[in-house]
Structures are given as C-alpha cells and as structure tokens.
C-alpha cells in the first residue's frame, strides 16, 4: 500500500523514461543479435506511428502521408550517403526534406478533411514508384539504391534508433499534453470553434503536418542505415495499412501506445512465419476489430486499469446544474463600444441584412430579437468575421473589424457562444474554459516540446483566470469533470465561462436560453447581468422575450434583415409594429415585463 502511495506521487514521465533508458541499454545488458534487430525495427516504426498519432489521433486528420515522408527520408539519406555524406548530416537533411514535403502536401491538405484527405494521402503513397522512375538517375528507379561502406555496427545502429525513439516520444509527449495538444483537440471537434477561439485553423493543421513529417523522415533515414538499401518496393499501401493497424492497436490518442502497437504487430509478423502469407488478412481484421472494439487501444485499456489501481474516482456527471451563489468580488471585464454603421450583406441575390446600424456599449446588455430568417445570426457572423459585409462598417473600440479574418477578430477580443454548445471531447471543464486563452499567449512550439519554464507559467496563469471565470458563472465545482458529457444547462455555462475567460471586449451570445428550463433561464439572466455590471459589452440574441426584456438595457428588433424598432424594453413591448410582426399581438397591461432590475441584486 505504501509503495502505491509513493508511486502515485512520482512525476508521470519518470516510468517511461526509465523504461526508455533500459531499452537503449539493451544490447549491453543481455539482448542478443536477433532481438536487437527486431527492436531496431520496432524503434523505427514507433517513431513513425507516434507521429501518425499526432495528426490522426489528436488533430483528427486521416492522412497516410507518413509513408511518403518515410520514403523521401530514406531516399534522401541514401542518395547523400552514396555521394559520401556522413550519417548525421544525411539524417538531418532527410528530416529537413520531409519537413518541406510536409509543407507542400500539407497546403492542399488544409482545405480537405475526412475521406478527401485520406484519398489524397493514399495516392501519394502509390506515386512513390512513379516518382522514383522519373528521377531514375538519382534513385536507381525500380531497381533501388544500395549503399556501401560507412556502415555502423548492428549495436551502433540500434543505439541510434533507440535514442532517436526515446527523444522523439519525449518531445511528442510534451507537445500533446500541453495547450497545443488541446488546441488540436479543439480543431478535431470543430474548426468553427477553433476559429472563434482565435486559433488559426490552417496554421494549426500545417504545424501538425510538419511536426509529424519530420520524425517520419528521420525514420526513413534510420531504415536506410539499418538495411543499406532502398527501393520503391519497400513503400507501398500495405505498409501504410500496417501503420494504421499499429496506431489503432496501441491507441490512436496515445504517444506511448505507438510502441506497444508496433511491437505487437512486428512480433506477430516475425514469430508467426505463416503470418506472412496471411498478413493482409490479419492486418485487415486487426483494423476492423480495432475500430469496433478498441476505440482507445492498448493505451486506453492500460489507462483504465491504472485509474482503477490509483482509484481515481469516476465521477458520474451531475444531471442538474446547481443554483447560483453570489461570488464575493468580480474582476472587471474590459468591454468596449461596438458600432455597426449601415451594414448590408448580400448572398447571391438575397439581401440578408439591409442597412442595419447598431450600438452596443460597455456595461450594457443589448438585445437582438426578431423572427427566424430576420438576419440575427447573419449579423453575429458578420461581427465575428465569418462573413464580410457587402457594405457598411463594423468598429469595436478603436479597431475596425471589417475585412479582418475571423480568427484575428477573435484574438481582438470578440468571444461568442453557439446555438448548440460546441465542447471538444477529451477535455475537462477547466481545460475547455482555459482554451480561450490559447491563441493569445501560446508559448512557442519549441518551448512546449522542451517543457521550458515559460510553458509552465503560461499554464498557471491561464488556470487561475479560468477558475475565476468559472466562479463567476457558478461552475467551479465542475473544474475536473469531463465537459462533453454534461447536461445541456451545464454545457451552456461552460461555454459562457469560456467566452468570458479570454478577457473579452465583446461577448456575443447566440440563443443561450434555448433548451433551458425556467430556473436555468433565471440563472443565465443573473450571469449575463453580472457580466454587464462588471463592465462587459454583451449582445444577446434570443427568442425568450421575457428574458430579453428582463436583462437588456436596449433592444433592437430585426425583420427581414431590416431594423424594425429599437429602444428600451418598455418601449419595445409597447411598439405596435413589433407586436404585429414578432409577438403576434400587443400585450395586455399586466403582461408588460418590468424594466430591467439587476436580477439578483440582493
């Protein structure tokens, strides 16, 4: 029992590091020649599969491009060594070349997803023999290229591969268990969400392609050093399928899992000689079974087992969000003045927004109501930069928003929620709320990989401000709970907290009361008033007219893209045009909803 308690307190990277060092020392502590070669191969493939997991498991991009990088790395290394280059510069060149290819193939890959991306990457693999033939003189065409001399001993090769594997796994692990890894999860869940958090979707995708190509190129170079020979036959679709099989078996969302996946498959291939003939069928079945059963692979099973040992409580999500309490002090929110001047938006002959002018001030809640199709959501999308106005201007504080790319608008301090909350899977509530800050103060990739102090500082400050915001919204007790499984009311609050956590200059709420019951709507109104009282600028799009009247300082009514009326809630309720178009009739005297009192001012 005591050992378990001690074990729980050691840093999580210690065990893998010890295992890695033991592996590196292998041949000197008793590993025979046959096993040495097998482990060398395993190390090479592990580097590849781990980098595959970065794009496939974390960013959700189905790409087999790794095999092409692997091939390129191998050829570059082979060609350079044939020309007399020593090993290390050749490997570096291989990594560089793979990185460049990663950029080139990543660029079109930016706009593709799902099967489109998968097919393109499959194709790239099939092209390898053709490209080798086109550059026949350098590559030896279909016959391949052999390298003589400059050979390392088998142990030397093993050392090179094992150390490379340990280093690559370490760097990748640091990368994925950081804000960068969470950014990838956000990207996987929804590129729209990523943009609204200020993340540059194309930039993220490109970075993950490059970061996964470089290790693949290294693996290719190491392979050549091992076998002294390269030919197009070594790089085919079957290899790609093998890598996916290893990824799925080990757990696509795990870096260490890659090792186990590769080890199992390599072991089976080697030991069971009959397996060779059946290899295609076996890989195929692995994939089918793996996809169906082991959604998280060996790593997932190990994690569950580990949780059971350390007895981490599996918390059942709270079905009902608790009532709000009043926090002691509310940090000020830097709201600014938003001004829309004569904004118009045309979509192919359809005028969705027609000459709308609107002002939303700090410390105020500005309501925006109107029938479906009246242009409310279009207006929100115009403000957040997802659409560009056909005419008119949008200014926030001193900054002109018109013509600015949506992720830059988000970085400029515009935060929004969505009609259906978009919450990435695999993150706790705290992480979701903290993701608001990723775009603005992300430490560089290098710092993240090496776990420099700047990284830790950024994490801590994000965590503190996220907790504060969660306190404001009343969900700090949910901090460590997985966010995506929570009921709707809680998820809405998490979204609101996320919108607030980035010190927003403008908060856009898109039908936040939809799907909430009366009690939850009251709490939401309370939170919105708090935000305004703390200085935030809030624009509230909502159909729950009662709530809008209770909470807003000013209301704009849209119809068919045009402003129908504007004024205080009182004025709007008495407006005949609004009644006819939106409410259906004029309310009776008793039905007039009272002018906003700060709800819950007690």
């Amino acid at each position: 029992m005591r050992t378990l308690a001690i074990a729980r307190q050691l840093p999580s990277w210690l065990w893998p590091l010890i295992a890695g060092l033991a592996l590196v020392a292998g041949p000197w502590i008793g590993l025979n020649a046959v096993w040495t070669r097998q482990l060398t191969l395993i190390a090479i493939y592990t580097i590849l599969v781990a980098s595959l997991n970065l794009t496939f498991g974390y960013a959700g991009l189905f790409s087999l491009g790794q095999v092409a990088m692997y091939a390129l790395g191998a050829y570059v290394t082979a060609i350079l060594m044939v020309h007399g280059w020593p090993i290390i510069p050749s490997l570096v060149a291989a990594m560089f070349a793979a990185g460049v290819l990663g950029v080139i193939t990543g660029l079109p890959g930016l706009r593709l997803a799902g099967w489109g991306l998968g097919m393109t990457s499959f194709f790239l693999v099939i092209l390898t023999p053709d490209i080798a033939q086109v550059f026949q003189s350098q590559t030896g065409g279909l016959f391949g290229l052999a390298i003589f001399g400059n050979a390392l001993s088998a142990k030397g090769v093993y050392l090179a591969c094992a150390i490379s594997m340990v280093v690559v796994l370490g760097l990748l692990r640091n990368l994925v268990s950081s804000s960068f890894g969470n950014s990838l999860r956000v990207l996987r869940q929804s590129p729209v969400l990523a943009t609204s958090l200020g993340l540059n979707v194309h930039g993220l995708k490109l970075k993950s392609f490059i970061l996964s190509s470089i290790p693949a190129g290294l693996a290719g170079g190491l392979y050549v050093i091992l076998d002294h020979y390269v030919s197009p036959d070594s790089f085919d679709l079957t290899l790609g399928v093998l890598f996916i099989a290893a990824s799925v078996l080990g757990g696509t969302e795990s870096i260490y899992g890659a090792f186990f996946g590769v080890a199992v498959i390599q072991f089976l291939t080697w030991r069971v000689t009959a397996f060779q003939q059946y290899s295609l069928v076996a890989y195929g079945l692995f994939l089918v079974l793996g996809g169906v059963l082991f959604s998280r692979g060996i790593a997932g099973i190990a994690r569950d087992f580990g949780n059971r040992i350390t007895r981490k409580a599996i918390v059942v999500p709270d079905r009902l969000a608790p009532r709000l309490t009043t926090p002691d002090a509310i940090a000020p929110i830097p709201g600014q003045l938003l001004q829309l001047t004569e904004v118009t938006k045309d979509f192919q002959g359809n005028r969705a927004v027609d000459d709308v002018s609107l002002t939303a001030g700090p410390g105020q809640v500005t309501g925006l109501v109107g029938p479906n199709g009246s242009g409310k959501t279009t207006l929100l999308n115009l403000i957040s930069g997802l659409y560009q106005p056909t005419a008119g201007d949008i200014v926030l504080g001193e900054q002109r928003l018109r013509g600015v790319a949506p992720h830059r608008v988000a970085r400029g301090g515009v935060a929004r929620t969505f009609q259906t909350p978009i919450i990435p899977a695999g993150m706790t509530c705290l992480e979701v709320v903290a993701s608001a800050g990723y775009a603005n103060d992300a430490p560089g990739i290098l710092a993240t990989m090496l776990r420099l102090p700047a990284c830790g500082r950024a994490n801590r400050s994000r965590r503190t401000s996220a907790l504060e915001t969660m306190r404001l919204v009343g969900i700090e007790h949910l901090a460590e709970q997985p966010a995506s499984g929570l009921p709707l009311g809680s998820r809405r609050r998490v979204e609101v907290a996320r919108a607030l956590a980035g010190q927003p200059r403008l908060v856009l709420l898109d039908e936040p009361a939809s799907g909430l019951d009366e009690g939850e709507v009251d709490d939401l109104a309370l939170v919105i008033r708090r935000v305004a009282d703390a200085g935030g600028t809030v624009i509230l799009v909502e159909h729950n007219f009662r709530m809008v009247c209770e909470v807003s300082d000013r209301i704009y009514v849209l119809e068919s893209g045009r402003l129908l009326a504007q004024g205080t809630p009182d004025e709007i309720q008495r407006d005949e045009a609004v009644a006819a178009s939106y409410l259906g009739q004029l309310p009776d005297a008793e039905e007039i909803i009272p002018h906003p009192n700060p709800v819950g001012s007690e």
């Binding site: 496939f56 959700g60 189905f62 079109p108 706009r111 593709l112 799902g114 099967w115 489109g116 998968g118 097919m119 393109t120 499959f122 194709f123 790239l124 099939i126 092209l127 053709d130 490209i131 033939q133 086109v134 729209v192 679709l237 079957t238 399928v241 996916i244 099989a245 799925v248 696509t252 003939q277 059946y278 290899s279 295609l280 069928v281 076996a282 890989y283 195929g284 079945l285 692995f286 994939l287 089918v288 079974l289 793996g290 996809g291 169906v292 959604s295 959501t377 999308n381 997802l386 969505f418």
Partner: protein
C-alpha cells in the same frame, strides 16, 4: 480514336465502382472504401467458373451476385453498423480494414499472378467508325450506362429512393416515419456488393483478375465521384468516362509513369477548386 475508346472502357469500370459507392453513400451515408474489392472478387469468380470448373461464364453472374450480396451484408453487420456512432475516423479504419482483409483473402485463394477472364461477351471484333472495338467492350460500357442511368431515375422518382436519401440525412427521423432503416442500410451494401461482383464477368475481359486491382481503382473511382458529385449517378458517368479518356491520352503522349502523377494533380484540383463536383449540392454553412 482507339485511345479514346479504350479510355471510355476503363472509364466505364471506374463509373461502375463509383455507382457502387453512390448506392451505399446515399442509403447509409458512408463511403465504402472496400467497394472495388467486390468487383475484384467477381472477376476471380468468373475465372474460376470458366477455367477451373469449365462452366459457362453465365454461371458466374448469379454466383457473383450471391457471393457479393452475402459479403456486403457481412460487411455491413460486422464492420459498419458497430462503428456507426463512433465518428468518421473509426469508420475510415474499419473500411480500410475490410478492404485489406478482402484483398488478403483473394490473394490467399488465387495468388498474386494476374489471370485472364473470359467474360459473358465474346471477344469478336467489330469495326466502328474505323476503330477496332470488341463486343465485350461494348457490353461493359452499355451495362454501366444502364446501371447508372437506371439508378439515377429510380432514386429521384420512386418513394423508396427518396426514402434512401432521407435516411442518409437523418436515420432516427427516418425510423420515426416508418422506414426500415436497418433493412435499407443492409440492402444497399448487399445490392452494391452483388451488382459489382456480378459485373465481374462483364468487366473482367478488360480488367483481368488481379488481387491488387482494388487499390488503384478505389482512387480512380473516388475521383470519378468527386468530379461528378457525391451521390450523383449521372455525375459518376461523366466523371468516370472523362477520367478514363484523360488517362488514356496521357499514357499515349507522355508514358505510363506520368498517368498516376497527373491523375493525382487532377484529384487535387477537383477537391480544392470544386469539392462538390459538377452536379453535387454545395453544403450549407453549418454555424
């Protein structure tokens, strides 16, 4: 002229596979990466029927239909339905797995050497507009056009066809309206698998029986679908045949090794410039 005709013939094979893709896509919303393997199986069945057992190639037609349909049902049950809710990456993985397994089984049974297939149509040659054309080639093209056009009109006119389209959009709602969604999904896989395997003795004369054929055809048929528009059968005809002609001309003027490279470029161009294809509908913005 001959190159164009040969291009049309290979293009017809791509179209046939693309139509299989469309059938499954429309009825169940999934892209069946393993679809071409059914055609491969069909060609080998045709070979076995004629050369190994000395039967008439016409026997291969119903044999292919049955085997293809049964395999399709097996795929739906074992590899598709269990992952229906797990997101697109799980689906990608099981599809690639099933395709690989099918390829592996074919390799095990018949080995890696390409085999000649005597199809249902004779190899006698006609002269059409000064070009040498075999009867078998005409049958391939005619069969493909018949299947593609027939399917197109059926899916847009008949209630069952519309129900398929609706089911691919929203399964639960389709169930609530009384549609037997499970049957539709299984049915699509069975019909697509059966039709493609049945096409073995028809397409065999020009594709031969090659265990790895599926790997390249899947990419070409995908491109045909991308050009025409996902789910659109007339688009598949246009896409497949134009791709066939494109490849044929490149092979003639630049040589074989450039065929794949330029096809790849074409794929990129289509996916980037017009991802919805010629006839597909632009997806509305989801915000």
């Amino acid at each position: 002229m001959l190159t164009v005709w040969l291009g049309i013939c290979t293009g017809a094979v791509y179209t046939l596979v693309a139509v299989g893709f469309n059938m499954v896509f429309v009825a169940s919303g999934t892209f069946n990466f393993a679809q071409p393997q059914y055609l491969v199986v069909g060609t080998f069945i045709a070979y076995t029927a004629v050369f190994t057992w000395g039967l008439s190639p016409w026997i291969a037609l119903p044999a292919g239909l049955v085997i293809g349909a049964v395999s399709g049902i097996a795929q739906e049950r074992l590899a598709i339905r269990p992952v229906a809710a797990k997101g697109i990456n799980a689906e990608l993985v099981t599809m690639v797995g099933w395709a690989t397994a099918m390829e592996g089984i074919v390799l095990l049974i018949w080995g890696e050497n390409p085999l000649a297939v005597n199809g249902v149509a004779s190899n006698s040659v006609l002269m059409v507009f000064g070009t040498r054309v075999t009867v078998a080639e005409i049958v391939i093209v005619a069969f493909t056009l018949a299947v593609a056009l027939g399917l197109h009109f059926w899916s847009h006119r008949s209630l069952l066809g519309i129900a398929c389209l609706a089911t691919s959009e929203d399964r639960d709602s389709a169930m609530l309206r009384g549609i037997n969604v499970k049957l539709l999904g299984v049915g699509a896989f069975a019909v697509a698998g059966g039709v493609l395997a049945l096409a073995g003795p028809i397409a065999g004369p020009i594709t031969f029986a090659v265990y790895s054929f599926g790997n390249t055809v899947v990419l070409y048929a995908f491109l045909a679908m991308a050009i025409g528009g996902f789910g659109h059968n007339i688009g598949a005809v246009v896409g497949g045949i134009s791709l066939g002609i494109f490849q044929s001309e490149i092979s003639l003027y630049l040589g074989d090794k450039w065929v794949d490279i330029l096809t790849f470029v074409l794929l990129l161009v289509v996916l980037l410039a017009r991802p919805q294809g010629l006839f597909g509908q632009r997806r509305e913005r989801v915000i």
